[in-house]
Subunit: 135 residues, 4 copies
């Protein structure tokens, strides 16, 4: 089952074409990811404090299928695609609530780095929680 | 030869990890694209006014190789990858000026739509200019 | 009684100093305003469609008292300060949930304009609803 | 004489009303400030590294007089208004190049804080340079 959070297009998210700017879908995907980690008791801040690591993105991909406009509600669905020793890849979909159509879908790949920005193995606790709750 | 524009990481572009937020590379890629169209006398606004079309993005992809930090200068290189009847795909690279390393690289695919947001053929003038100047 | 909505500082809202960028408080104030209008059945979109008007901002002011950091929750309180023939001024406060301290406070003054961006009187329905529910 | 830098409204800066979002003027004011410090050899990063201080904003005010739209060029003029022991206040104006009209004007007040986010006196070098070059 995907992890789902609902968002609404803000005025500031739109552009002169009247639709949400394409980069904002990725920002809401990330916001959903933040909520996922919080929901499993591993908020980014906890991970930073406890393990000294952060999760910079090393790849992002998004296909845009139908625009969201100001005030539209959309659900972001998030599913774990793959966990490797140092990386996690998440699949995302943004679904328009008004008609159930996919607005955008893609993936984001993150890597575990320490304070010196060197790639390091993901903490086991994170791997296990993500494996368990993220699918 | 690629089309090149130089940008500098602003304070507001950074995040708590001290690096430019991953979505901002895509925003600077788009800013470079805006400058390209202006340089060939076809600013987005001209295209909107003259032909009644805009170019929403239907796909974006980016690989992040090395972070840019506050105050860093980087060159965005832009090359036309493919033009079809209704779409244009651009390749982008962001190169850090300090060491010449690639910070990020990817592509953005745009489609030509009319005021009703229906896909329509690209104006011939645009296709020709992009073919001529975009490679 | 103020109108209140709660928000959480997103990763993308922060900057290299580790705090929410000062312009984002104003963006959340506006998000709260959007929710207020929706709550009284007058979403910005309804107002745009029904009356052909929008509410551009003509003044904004904000004092920053204590920083919000990534993952912090804060309440935005919004109170109507003044309604004139063509303008509405809202007072805002952002309160950190962790300690009840004021993070930021200020006001935003909006004007009613038509499609030609000319100032026009506020629709009576809007004035009445704002007077009734906005204080 | 004011310190002046020119910017252009990006697609992402606009909103569904077709104009630059009101918070982006403040972002461009800050970008101008960044360029000012760089121009006097005191880039924010230098100040952070050399003195261990940053300049969070404690107040911002802006009056919006005429909208800037996509592709519009505007000059940001910046003048030092006041320097106190721990604060600097800057006046800003955004002037539309097309007609010389003021799009927006306001001020931003910054305070000098150390790594613990405590207010500390401004470094003398900064005060002198700002007094000399900022007016």
């Amino acid at each position: 089952m995907p992890f789902i959070r609902t968002f609404r297009v803000r005025w500031v998210d739109t552009d002169v074409a009247g639709v949400m700017h394409f980069t904002n879908y990725l920002r809401y995907f990330e916001a959903c990811e933040e909520e996922f980690y919080r929901s499993i008791g591993l908020a980014f801040n906890t991970v930073r404090t406890k393990y000294g690591i952060t999760f910079p993105r090393i790849e992002a991909h998004c296909i845009y299928r139908a625009p969201c406009r100001f005030d539209d509600c959309f659900d972001v669905e998030m599913r774990m695609r793959e966990v490797s020793e140092k990386t996690i890849t998440w699949d995302f979909r943004a679904i328009r609530q008004v008609d159930g159509n996919v607005a955008a879908e893609g993936y984001i790949k993150c890597i575990s780095v320490n304070a010196e920005w060197k790639a390091v193995p993901l903490p086991l606790e994170v791997v296990e929680m993500v494996r368990q709750k993220g699918r």
